[in-house]
Amino acid sequence: MINKNKKVALTGGFAVGEAMTQINPDVMAVYPITPQTPIVEYLARKVANGKADTEMIQVESEHSAMSACIGASASGARTMTASASQGIMYMMEVLPVASAMRLPIVMAVANRAISGPLNIHCDHSDAMAMRDTGWIQIFSENAQEAYDNTFIALKLAEKVLLPATVNLDGFILSHSVENLELLADGLIYKFIGEYQPEQHLLDFEKPKTFGAIALPDSYFEFRKQIYDAMEKARAEFNEITKEFGELSGRKYEQIEACETENAETVIVAMGSTCGTIASVVDKMRAEGKKVGLLKIRLFRPFPYGEVQKALKRIKRVVVMDRNMTFGSQQVLASEVQKALGAELESVIYGLGGRDIYERQIEEIFEGKKDSPYFLM
């Protein structure tokens, strides 16, 4: 029970676990995977001690985790889960079923590289792999954002009836202790409210069939409904984050620009590296160098208009992807290029948890091409 806002020191994983405890979802179906496990363990401990009464389903695979979430959410339960990496790949088959059934499931993803070779450390390959499954995807820079994004994702998901992920960098955020402010339970309750789905499976007065077959005469229309819901999520995100800002004093937008106004070079990135870049920007600005940062918070739906507006006057744009696409342009670089309609530079960095330091960010700003830390 949190009676009033309080400052605490928590890992990002525990911060998300605390957010879930405060939400107290009806059902959480989850399978262990590093670096997600602190999230589920945190909630499991809260349930074991009577601090939350979520029904936990300790399933036997991620495929079953998402399948059980679908069964529970369709039945009218507020439903959450958490996963990463191979877990996301394993549940891939059912991820688009969740969005097609318009189920507002919320999943925390402690972003981790995908095999092979086996690697348990951070990159964004798992999030990128699920980018076309109809899930809203929000990225977090630090533990505070991971905590806050959990509430924002839930409210947005329930508003537009699409599932949503809260991405937090594996280990870098999930396992690192940071200071953050927790919100009082009363504020959370006011923000998220009771979950009362208009339609659900356990309505015996008006029995419904979920998951019917759609032939060529209707499949297209069903997919279009997901498309429209995702488009609707743009404006709703703004409304919801505005409300959250009034509640918490923390204002979140789809993108966050840092010193981009008169910048000559701007790096575009997502996740925890944005903190490092921001610190380099401050340092280089002090040296009179015109550099800036554009952080992408909302990845799906992608904020093309906002990105275009922020970057249209920038001479040199460098996009940093923490994932690798083969035989094609990198994912975030492609999105930014579409928004910008102009050439840009693309950098791949941090695969499989390869650290990147301020020195390398400076090198990227300065246009260095070769480094063991990044690939230009």
């Binding site: 059902v27 036997e60 069964g71 339960a77 499976l201 077959i213």
Partner: protein, 307 residues
């Protein structure tokens, strides 16, 4: 007799002679409690839910092929959670049913089913076993019997059809130490009905494996479905038994066991066996396998050994 206004499903999209409608109806009519159903991808699903139509007059959800066990776990848990919070009210407790074919149960859905059984969710799983992936056009499954010709184990000069026996699914399920497991047969409808009733009365998971001839792919006349189903049990190819709290109990003991040929010769999928130059050896082998399984079940019943 089913009163029309009480009908919980009206199937019409199946192939002629397909017993899937009988199976679904028998199960749904086995309780007066409200029922919510999930269904693995397969013949039952595709023939009953082509948008904008549905045959189901009870809540129904289909997700993917291999997750009926996990989906029903989520449904049943959601119900528990909503009940606890006073968010759902029904006069009688809700019963949860998962349907899957042999492909969706013996093979791709086995892990999800195993997890659901181990976690002891309160639900009934019904596997309708037609011995191959019939919805995709008769490819062999873990439930396909030895010697059957399928599109992926076709009989030919060098092949007599499927070279390995089917999994013993009922025993695999019983190995989860659940309270009620039974085999059933659409050709023995009273027995099937009684088993459904018992399954619904069971607290926790229960499982019924029901024999379901497929006229299209077994290649027999649609008129012969029930007759062939009966032969399956009368030859002991499909023994009927229950495993109650781990103990085997045979439900039907043929007075005089018919020879396996009497079952096999009714179906095109075994036709090649009778034309083979190894006919006698093959039939002897198959009869031996049937005898072995029947004797195993008899032994288990006699000794009272628990699974």
């Amino acid at each position: 007799m089913i009163k029309k206004n009480k009908q919980k499903i009206s199937t019409s999209g199946t192939c002629a002679g397909c017993p899937i409608g009988i199976i679904a109806r028998t199960v749904l009519n086995g309780t007066d409690n409200p029922i919510a159903v999930t269904n693995a991808t397969g013949c039952m699903e595709v023939t009953t839910t082509i948008y904008p139509n549905t045959s189901w007059k009870v809540p129904y959800i289909h997700s993917v092929f291999g997750n009926a066990g996990a989906t029903v776990s989520g449904m049943e848990t959601a119900y528990k959670a909503l009940l606890k919070k006073g968010k759902i009210k029904t006069e009688k407790p809700v019963k949860f049913v998962a349907f899957g074919g042999d492909g969706g149960t013996y093979d791709i859905g086995l892990q999800a089913l195993s997890g659901a059984l181990e976690r002891k969710h309160d639900f009934l799983y019904v596997c309708y076993d037609n011995g191959a992936y019939m919805n995709t056009g008769n490819q062999r499954s873990g439930g396909t019997p030895f010697g059957a010709s399928t599109e992926t184990t076709p009989a030919g000069k060098e092949s007599f059809g499927k070279e390995v026996i089917r999994k013993d699914l009922a025993t695999i399920v019983a190995g989860h130490h659940i309270d009620y497991v039974a085999t059933a047969n659409v050709g023995f409808i009273d027995d099937f009905q009684a088993k459904v009733k018992k399954a619904f009365e069971t607290k926790g998971p229960s499982f019924i494996l029901v024999f379901s001839p497929c006229p299209n792919q077994w290649q027999h006349s649609p008129k012969k479905t029930i007759e062939i189903a009966k032969l399956g049990t009368k030859t002991c190819f499909w023994p009927l038994y229950e495993v109650i709290n781990g103990k085997y109990k045979i439900s039907y003991r043929p007075k005089s066991r018919l020879k396996i040929e009497e079952f096999m010769q009714t179906q095109g999928r075994f036709k090649h066996i009778f034309k083979s130059k190894n006919k006698e050896a093959l039939i002897k082998d198959i009869q031996g396998k049937v005898d072995e399984e029947w004797e195993r079940v008899e032994d288990l019943e006699e000794t009272g050994a628990k699974v």
